[in-house]
């Protein structure tokens, strides 16, 4: 079963107020410039997509926002606070969670232990139980497998677990790095449906995808990244109709 999804408007309450602002951000690996001064912003309640070819710098962008990579120049501002001096370890306390590319689950731990570690910043039994119930409602397949060792889950289930684990921190903003990577189409649909529901429940989402069609369908706005620079940006609907995008990313 697949439900058609129109591009959603932002929830009315806080709509339009910026949550994440990236200003002229540059990042290098040694001498190689991976990001050459990109600027973007994500408003509360939005799903914003970032698309682009292999090596465009999408993962670099998310990892830098998540403070796993050092900033060469530029600013990252989240909810009025500068993320520059913040460490990756304390980012969850700010309300930002990254679901890394390749999922990054802990394969040697059980599904439940993975979820519990997602709640590291609460460590309160009652909050964990309650959050796990919400998360499992979103991903019933994860709920059925809490005792299983995470490494034995299928790729799609591992991706669900990675998202579920990030949600355990009760983030206000979720950074998703290619949730569709290497996953059977049927599960991809499930995952995107879940992402839409997460956003409906009030979590702001920055979604990185190579699956341009899905990314543009589920997001409200999008940025196109090309070799470390923003090549285009706008409403996802407009971008989906754009001839250049169609030719380059949607297979004509």
């Amino acid at each position: 079963m697949k439900i058609e999804h129109p591009n959603r408007p932002a929830p009315k309450a806080e709509a339009g107020t910026p949550l994440l602002t990236v200003d002229n951000l540059a990042v290098s690996y040694g001498g190689i410039k991976a990001l050459k001064g990109i600027s973007l912003n994500v408003n509360r309640g939005e799903i914003v997509a970032m698309i682009g070819a292999n090596g465009a710098g999408k993962t670099t962008t998310l990892k830098t926002i998540a403070r796993l990579l050092p900033i060469s120049s530029g600013k990252i501002n989240y909810d009025g606070r500068d993320l520059g001096p913040v460490s990756a370890e304390s980012l969850v306390e700010y309300g930002v969670s990254l679901v890394p590319e390749g999922r990054g689950i802990f394969p040697n731990l059980t599904v439940r232990e993975n979820l519990e570690l997602g709640a590291w910043n609460h460590k309160s039994k009652s909050v964990i139980v309650e959050t796990e119930m919400e998360v499992v409602r979103l991903f019933p397949r994860i709920g059925e497998r809490v005792k299983q060792v995470a490494g034995t889950l299928s790729g799609g289930e591992q991706q669900m677990l990675a998202i579920a684990r990030a949600l355990m921190a009760r983030p206000a903003m979720l950074l998703l790095d290619e949730p569709s990577l290497g996953i059977a189409p049927r599960l991809v649909a499930d995952i995107f449906e879940a992402v839409a529901r997460i956003a409906e429940a009030g979590t702001t989402i920055l979604l990185v995808e190579q699956n341009t069609r899905l990314a543009l369908k589920y997001s409200r706005r999008a940025y196109v990244l090309r070799t470390g620079e923003i090549a285009m940006s706008g409403n996802s609907k407009d971008l989906a109709d754009n001839e250049e995008i169609k030719a380059a990313y949607l297979g004509g």
């Binding site: 998540a66 796993l68 460490s87 990756a88 370890e89 304390s90 980012l91 969850v92 306390e93 969670s97 990254l98 890394p100 990054g104 689950i105 802990f106 394969p107 040697n108 731990l109 232990e113 519990e116 570690l117 997602g118 590291w120 910043n121 460590k123 490494g151 684990r165 990030a166 921190a169």
Partner: protein, 295 residues
């Protein structure tokens, strides 16, 4: 009967070795680093134990002095282990920026060897090279039983620590994916320090139990026992906690059985032969998991 007795003695001996092996295996599990300085922490722990049990008043209350001295020595050894990590390994990790290549693996290994030599020389400087006799704290007839029971209790506690606590969960998470662990909010540096503290405390306990039954402590004692413990960890499958226990007991039993033969001097030769055979048949050790290591 002689064989049975040797096996019992071997299990007791092996459980001490296992206490030391656990430190090698825990650190390897989390950092993929062989901490050669661990054998010297074991030796230092034994010295701390000697001075502290005497300091706590052996003559007035041997029982109290023994227990308090051992616990205090474990704490000191734990701090020493954490210090080694902070001074020698943490700066290298910070410089490699979490990336792994040949250099990021060899440099810490050489550093570990250096720390081992440094600590051994430091011990000779501080305590002189002479053999010191250890107080006879354990009643001879029950010594083995006490050693064995203490080791088993500690291993059960460790099992609980690793599988039943937040720290243990964090430790297992950091051992497979440091970056993902950081994203959860885990202070990975702290988890690594605590792993060194735990392993070093166990090594000190092993050292004290060893000296109580062998009755002597000296600065180079880490070389022989440390090497045996390291081999035990590798035989069991380095990185595997049950593996370290199994390897330790195996080596203890082999050692005692050898003593029944005319070749008792060849104990270490036999142990290394076992190591080579095990590695040929199962390269990742008896209980080691092949291929779980992330690249």
């Amino acid at each position: 009967m002689k064989i049975l007795n040797a096996i019992i003695a071997g299990v007791a001996q092996g459980s001490m070795i296992a206490l030391v092996s656990l430190g090698y295996t825990m650190v390897y599990g989390i950092l993929k680093l062989i901490n050669f300085a661990h054998s010297e922490v074991f030796m230092m722990g034994a010295f701390f134990g000697l001075f502290l049990t005497v300091g706590f008043g052996l003559d007035t209350s041997p029982m109290f002095a023994g227990v308090a001295g051992t616990l205090a020595a474990m704490v000191l050894a734990g701090l020493l282990g954490a210090l080694v990590e902070k001074v020698a390994y943490a700066p290298l990790r910070a410089r490699s920026g979490g990336r792994s290549n040949t250099n990021t693996r060899i440099t810490p290994l050489v550093t570990a060897l250096g720390m081992s030599v440094l600590l051994q020389n430091l011990a000779q400087l501080l305590f002189t090279a002479r053999y010191r006799s250890y107080p006879q704290l354990l009643p001879i007839e029950n010594a083995r039983t006490i050693v064995f029971v203490v080791a088993v209790v500690v291993m059960i506690a460790l099992q609980f620590l690793v599988y039943g606590t937040w720290f243990g969960k964090a430790m297992r998470a950091v051992s497979v994916n440091v970056e993902a662990a950081r994203l959860m909010g885990i202070r990975t540096g702290r988890v690594i320090s605590m792993t060194f503290v735990t392993g070093s405390m166990l090594a000190a306990l092993g050292g004290i139990l060893y000296c109580l039954s062998q009755s002597q402590v000296y600065p180079t004692m880490g070389v022989v026992i440390g090497t045996r413990s390291f081999v035990a960890a590798v035989i069991g499958g380095i990185g595997s906690i049950p593996g370290a226990v199994l390897g330790g007991v195996l080596i203890g039993v082999i050692g005692e059985l050898t003593k029944l033969t005319p070749y008792s001097g060849l104990q270490d030769v036999i142990i290394f032969t076992v190591l080579i055979v095990v590695l040929l048949v199962r390269p990742s050790g008896l209980l080691g998991k092949a291929g779980i290591e992330k690249v």
